[in-house]
Amino acid sequence: MKKRPHIFTRLLGDSKLQPFVIPVFSVVCSLAAASIVLLIIGRNPLIAFRSILQGAGLLPRGSYSAGKGMLTDLLNTLSALTPMIFAALGVTVAFKAGLFNIGVSGQMLFAGYIASVTIGYSDLPAYAARPLVLLIGFACGALIGALIGLLKHRFNINEVVSSIMINYILQYVIGFFILTRHIDPVSRQSVAVSAAARLVPQSVHYGTLKGDLPLCILLAIIVAFILRFVINRTRYGFDLLAVGANPKAARYAGIRVGSTVVTSMTLSGALAGLAGVTHYLGYYNSIQPKSLTSVGFDSIAVSLLGNGNPVGVLFSSLLVTVIDKGSTYMSSMVKVEREIAAVITGLILLFSACGAYFKYLAERNQLAATGEPANSEKKDDGEGDA
């Protein structure tokens, strides 16, 4: 108690700076850790990180093949960014309600698959197909989310366990249908969806360059702002936050905790569904059977890093997507396996998870500074001579 807080803790502990300092700290720590790994295997981390930025289209590469340029890479990154934002927003909504949606990948797969077989394989024109794809994605994700929410509400099943089980079930069942009905014998993926249904038109001309047109990125950004408004300024947001912060008090206040759990999980699933269609019918145009995309898991890191703030999520999504997108190029430039991107993301996640500790330190520091005795310190003490 008497020890003066370390400068380091003070910086991290300042409650006003916290939302910025902790994520930056997490990122710096994980990059430092990754640098150590790179140094151990004899690679130059600076070159590695530069090539990540080059690969993601944020820095120019040394050379480009015909019709490609930095813009091409950037547009490609943006079309990968879209599902990441949706997915991370999904995770964030659940977090706010005190829930952990680790089933985003499964919800994405389900939404992507249903949208593919219904709209993707139809010959609807683009103006009808694209909105329908989004709508179906939204609905399918919502369906799975609602199921997880109901299992939690009705049967008290931890949402982490149930969503993992549902992930596996969807992965195998959808894999089975793809393998038996929709398999492309050459690519060993599902048959490609029609160009009209695809949310990211390909090979659009930008002057001399050709590249993707990531249509939904704007939608993703708008959704982030809407979500922020819903959470902070609406009655539903109040319910959601109260349930997340203290379900007992929420119930006491007359909030229907169960239905809030179900609706928030449904909303979370719906956003994951949007992530699914922008991934499988946007960034890609087919589904690899029997596998789940890592986007769903990375989105957890993104959400934690974004500190539960939908707008913060926009920035953290960009960071994680850049690391992921740039890793292929980095892999070829510095001869290191591209899976290091996942390791970096994992490390970011690890350091972000310690955020609660920094907040705790901050609370203690605040105490020392203001002299206001925190009541939680004597919660059970009845008397509480503080």
Binding site: A242, Y252, R256, L367, A368, E372, D385, A386
Partner: protein, 517 residues
Amino acid sequence: MAEQEYIAEMRHITKRFPGVVANNDISLSIRKGEIFALLGENGAGKSTLMSILFGLYEPDEGELIIRGKPVRISSPSHAAKLSIGMVHQHFRLVENFTVTENIVLGLEPTRRLLGLLPYVDLKTANREIAELSRRYGLEVEPTAVIEEIGVSMRQRVEILKMLYRGAEILIFDEPTAMLAPQEIEYLLKILLSLREGGKTIILISHKLAEIKQVADRCAILNRGKLVGLFDVADTSTQQMASVMVGRELAPEEPPPPMEFGAEVLRVDKLNVLNIDKFPVVKDVSFGVRAGEIFAIAGVDGNGQVEVADAIAGLAKLHSGTITLAGTDITGASIRERTELGLAFVPEDRQSTGLVLDFALDRNLALRRYYKLPINVRGVLNNRAISDDAVGLIEQYDIRAGRGGATQVRSMSGGNQQKAIVAREIETGAGLMIFVQPTRGLDIGATRAIHRHILDQRALGKAILLISLELDEVMALADTVGVMYGGEMTRIAPLSDLSYDEIGAYMMGVGNSAEVTE
């Protein structure tokens, strides 16, 4: 040699917490074999001082001398080595362990299976505990599981825990807070017999009568300072009381007589089951009229809280009906009840009454945020939330560093409770339920809450008060219902009941049977 007279001495102890000096230069000497009482209001520094002796805190200044030797007590286990033991106000027992397992935890006797594999020898342990319990007259069932035994036996288990560790200095932190009057008598007898057995006892309390009854000497703390040290035999309780509070304290005025109005709440044959489907409220029926304070008295865990929860809609009822202002609310949702005029100050302010991570203004809006003027077509009017908060903070004297934006977590218990009371009163409900409204509050805060309750009564509200403090029931109630074992065993106007009579009903013995405990 004179030093030897004292088994424990505290010299110039000072302990600071951020913003507070909890103990300010306190010096005390405790004689071997005496019952030494430590008296003071909530927040006076008693628990901190004893926590220092028990090794939970280290003092910032001053020294401890145990049996003539200066020591630094670094942890409870170190204290145990110096044969200092403490019974905390909230028991520290493992619920799914037996009595014996709890007592021996940390000092388990072991044997070796086939001379090889060590195991905890519960058979021997059970025997030892039975023997120990006989020696000190502390009746316990060694093989009973804690979750199945009552408060009084749990406390005896805590005492045996200390004795098993060979404690010579026994610290009791508010040991009578959770007990019925007759159980208190029994405990006080135990204390006397422990003293007889040569133990030194430090008794933390704010109940003067008990101190007068058993203690040899008494130290009084006020705001962290030692303000008095008396031989109990030579001092009147009035003297002690005025020193404790630091001023002459007028006794609380009894509530003025009221004309009761129509019945606002009617509870009929209420039955509630707990999670294990075990009945915790059995066929309870009563009514509360406008302008009446109906107090439910009882020892903790006899179904009172469940009655309140069932009325508020927080607990599911198994059978029975509840009527509020003529409307059957048996199956109504919590919000419907709020709308019909039910306000509720819950037992646990931190886990139920407040969202600690929310700002004060949002907590004050917790009962109203869904209505106009705050909720305008689904969107919250933040201005309305903060304006309301400013008004309530002012009106109810809620002290919060940053006004409505203060995180409730950082507020003191008294101010948290004021915030809840303010919010509930502001609902304007015809029925107000208070569960343990003054638990853990100092006299000032307690009196403020009592005034609010009486003001509401004067306004003609029906009030249901649930309190474990019999004194509080006696001070406020118009009508008393006593609960024991889930049943309401007696309902009568306060004027028809004596303190001892209520105590007997709280023990489940009525006024005919003898108290056996």
